[in-house]
Amino acid sequence: MKIVVLMKQVPDTYGERILDPSTGLVDRSGSDAVIDEIDERALEVALSYKDAHKDVEVVVVSMGSTAVTVGLRKGLAMGADSAVHVLDSALAGADVGWTSTVLAAALTTTGFDLVIAGNESTDGGGGVVPAMVAERLGVPHVTYLESVQISDDGVVGERSTGRGKLRVHAALPAVISITERLPEARFPKFKGIMSAKKKPFTVASLGDLGIDPAVTFAGVGRSVVLQTTKRPARASGKKIVDEGNAGVELADFLVAGHLL
């Protein structure tokens, strides 16, 4: 079985995340770029299945700038068998439509039985790319899974919606996305880091994937940012140290603000 994990490079959420006011795009110089934590959990789902099924092949795929290399190497060090990096300057500012088209093309070249992605990225936060990829590939999708059982011919899991949980299954090939209720990823070990250097690492341009933006995206709607404004930062107010009466003082504060 071949499992492909989709990974996205995002600004580290522990740093300040900045939007470039002129383009409305994420300013990737503002904070360290890391593989989104949720995508590492997605890789963990694939790797833990591989732990128990030695014939499973795991491929990590990412579309992004040259900075992506580090994250894909980490994926290989954790245990993925090969990596594909889609790198093309024409993709700067790609929206979810473009991104899903490119990823679907990459998946067609790698081949797959199961595609695993994070439910939503911490920078875009759209949560739509996995289902879009599934539609383009003509396969079922199950997103936002909180539990996953993979077998030779299908995937079963539970997903939460606003109104309770659904237990669902899909036949393979399929695309799934997982939530942060699934376990954290393993750390790469020294042996993994060393062997990662010898694993296949493909860099593909749009041309390599058979995509000519002027043709492929003609007549396709594309979302674009018109304007970006930064809200003024929040200032801190009153701070007291409890000396036995803080609960009462807080009640007074709430009364004064008509919050009681």
Binding site: T122, V128, A131, E135, T143, R222, S223, K238, K239, G247
Partner: protein, 324 residues
């Protein structure tokens, strides 16, 4: 005025979801609201009057045996058919798990541009312009779609007001048979707890607890204060991971974003990912033992103290006031 399709969400019990008034209000802001309702055969007609009261000028009832068994694809098929029937100026879904799934597959199918998590909408010429609140409200962004149809997922409850009531024109359509591209729903586990407490999304007051509460038993203190204030219960990811409270209560980057009148953070350090979900609250109160906790940087009223002494005293003060 152009037609605006709005995919209506139906509860497990067959009623309109709470998201419906706001979604139809959003559609009415842009044009003529067309409610698209996807149900098992015969189940949709009962909803028409209610949709009319909420402003749906047209109701498109798409019905098929597969609804409720096939995940998401019946809704995608129904909207794709409604797009052909109504030539809409925009297609709206709720920014829920299901709404986003449907919007995603539809956008890929009809080559539409997809705009996610709008908090406001307007037309500028023939373009729909959406407003977004990004990175926990740190930025306001406006976006639009170029060169193709527009699909927008609208944040639950973000657009207020209600469209004027009308008597809807009803169209009924049957869904074609399955295409083999669908996951299957095996079971619906309806575990939405019926609680007297307000829901987190859209609550005017929220009391959240963090790792500092120490255990599931002691987290009860958060619930007691929430009840005294008539507030919803929230939590940090650390509190959810530790099993103090269910995931649905998580506030932050990867949880719910709230924007209440009052947000009370108990035993929460104020990590940037937590702040991303609550920093647009009107008034923020924090109680934390650590005087250097970053939550104090954004608190309007901060107390350096132990939640287990300050909060019981606060609850007592609130209760004695309400007795007066």
């Amino acid at each position: 005025m152009s037609n605006i399709l709005a995919l209506i969400e139906i509860s497990n019990h067959g009623d309109l979801e709470d998201s419906t008034p706001s979604l139809l209000a959003a559609a009415a802001k842009l044009g003529t609201p067309v409610a698209v309702v996807v149900t098992a055969p015969g189940a949709g007609a009962a909803l028409v009057d209610h949709l009319g009261r909420l402003g749906a000028a047209q109701v498109y009832l798409a019905q098929g045996e597969q609804v409720g068994t096939f995940l998401v694809t019946p809704q995608v098929d129904a909207l794709a058919a409604a797009v052909l029937a109504f030539d809409p100026g925009a297609i709206l879904t709720v920014n829920s798990v299901e709404g986003r799934d449907v919007a995603a597959r539809l956008a890929a199918r009809i080559d539409a541009g997809l705009v996610i998590d709008a908090v406001d909408l307007r037309f500028e010429g023939t373009n729909v312009v959406a407003t977004h609140s990004v990175f926990g409200g740190a930025y306001t962004v406006e976006s639009t779609v170029e060169g193709g149809p527009t699909i927008v997922t609208v944040r639950q409850g973000a657009i207020e007001g209600q469209a004027d009531a009308v008597a809807p024109v009803v169209t009924t359509a049957s869904l074609g048979s399955e295409t083999g591209r669908s996951a299957i729903i095996d079971e619906v586990i309806d575990n939405v707890v019926v609680s007297a407490r307000p829901g987190l999304r859209g609550a005017t007051k929220v009391v959240s607890g963090g790792r500092g509460l120490g255990s599931q038993e002691k987290f009860e203190l958060v619930e007691r204060l929430a009840d005294a204030l008539g507030a919803a219960v929230g939590a940090s990811r650390a509190a959810v991971d530790a099993g103090f409270v269910s995931q649905a209560s998580q506030v932050g980057q990867t949880g719910v974003t709230v924007s209440p009148q009052l947000y009370v953070a108990l035993g929460i350090s104020g990590a940037i990912q937590h702040r991303a979900g609550m920093q647009t609250a009107k008034t923020i109160v924090a109680i934390n033992k650590d005087a250097d906790a970053p939550i104090f940087d954004i608190a309007d009223f901060g107390i350096v103290g132990d939640v287990f002494t300050v909060v019981p005293q606060l609850i007592e003060a609130i209760e004695s006031r309400s007795k007066k």
